[in-house]
Amino acid sequence: MDAQFAITGRDFVVSVTDKAIVHSIVRMKNNQDKTCRLSSHTLMSVTGEAGDTSNFAEYIQGNVRLYSVRNSQDMAPSETANFIRNELATALRSRKPYQVNLLVAGVDRNSGEASLYWIDYLAAMAKVPYAAHGYCAYFLYAVMDREYTQNITLEQAFVIIKKCFAVLKERFMVDFPDFTIKVIDQSGTREYAVADI
């Protein structure tokens, strides 16, 4: 029941996740950040099975950081996404696969190009302009297909995101009180409140 989606634009990526941690019928926490900062210009949002999310995220975070330290240079978003997919695929047919769904968003520091990679729990990967995971995908893909155009600006992306929030509020059985909205562009990563977009 997690909401997880992202949209790329001309030179930025916006990642949106909800903030709830749910256990059976109880919402245990309302302000959880479901994204994982891999580097100053790469972000990974993680949802899925309870313990697997944090363990996998911390494992990837450690390895990406190690690469940066060893090579004095951050991994590019495409390298990061492929590394992550490979780790997931290796674990898939092992004793215990990770049940996590990911969206890897990043801006390449050299070319300025923004990219978004959709990776599911079976380690399938696709480079896409916009994507969603979970039940919310059933509602949001139609909205994003209808409204999206190439090279949108940040303001236009926020308009699309507000339409996404509207359809979830109107039609999805779970009401999300709050969302984590993060924008990655050439200058790095920053967070927005729902009221400020």
Partner: protein, 284 residues
């Protein structure tokens, strides 16, 4: 049950040296060793008997009948639990200790399998002591809860049932984490775990403030457990309450929830009030 127990125990001849497919499990660096079920995949084997989704009659049914709660406030962390244990429709005990004293400044609560909680929190206590000896300082609540979460994550899917809150006071002030056998670890100011948790949340959420006094916090904890035991059949007995402050935890006198009922509802009178055993107490 005996046949299952036999199957799950390796006999003396199956020493770790002549390894079968199962062999033994050494919990990373802790020196605690025990043997896993023999066979190719111990996890799948135990899952048949403990998996909640399985329909098999042989399933070992884990009862989560309990109410435990903990919340952070200005003066520390308040931890309160009930004390009832049920097996099926029978109340097995009304005086279970669901708060585990890990060390003089860390507390853990118990929900789910009693053995799982008390064993793993005992191992956690050992690891916390080793940390103190190695680093010459007390372990933080974040690190302690992470140790516990990592310990149980290795056994994810193998049938552990544990939903615990780790409460303590460290350099950054009061600390409270929820850790469960699914591998979940969450930090927050307020938690309630167990079958009665929804009832407790109702009372807690409507009266909780961070800047409560100690007496207000105790009253809130007591009330929340009482209301949960009143509505949840699987919670009851007595309220066990602890207050974790800067120099460690203190335990409070036990209170029977039956007596709390009459204290909170002074308008309820027994028909033969004068002869009731509680008449003297209520008159006071």
């Amino acid at each position: 049950m005996n046949r299952i127990a036999e199957q799950l125990t390796l006999s003396a001849s199956d020493s770790p040296n002549n390894q079968l497919d199962g062999g033994s499990s050494n919990i990373c660096g802790t020196g605690v060793q025990f043997e896993l079920a023999s066979g190719n995949n111990p996890a799948a084997f135990t899952q048949q008997y403990t998996d909640v989704k399985s329909e098999r009659d042989a399933r070992i049914k884990m009862d989560h009948g309990t109410t435990t709660l903990a919340f952070k406030f200005k003066h520390g962390v308040l931890v309160a639990t009930d004390s009832r244990a049920t097996s099926g429709n029978v109340i097995a005990s009304q005086s279970v200790k669901k708060v585990i004293e890990i060390n003089p400044y860390l507390l853990g609560t118990m929900a789910g399998g009693a053995a799982d909680c008390s064993f793993w929190e005992r191992v956690l206590g050992m690891e916390c002591r080793l940390y103190e000896l190695r680093n010459k300082k007390r372990i933080s609540v974040a690190a302690a809860s992470k140790l516990l979460a990592n310990l149980v994550y290795r056994y994810k899917g193998m049938g552990l049932s544990m939903g615990t809150m780790v409460a303590g006071w460290d350099e950054s002030g009061p600390g409270l984490y929820y850790v469960d056998s699914e591998g979940q670890r969450v930090v927050n100011d307020l938690f309630s775990v167990g079958s009665g948790s929804t009832f407790a949340y109702g009372v807690l959420d409507s009266h909780y403030r961070f800047d409560m006094s100690v007496d207000e916090a105790k009253d809130l904890g007591r009330r929340a457990i009482y209301h949960a035991t009143h509505r949840d059949a699987y919670s009851g007995g007595i309220v066990r309450m602890y207050w974790v402050k800067e120099d460690g935890w203190v335990a409070y006198p036990l209170e029977d929830v039956g007596e709390l009922y009459f204290r909170y509802h002074p308008e309820i009178k027994l028909t033969h009030a004068a002869e009731s055993p509680l008449a003297a107490q209520r008159a006071a």
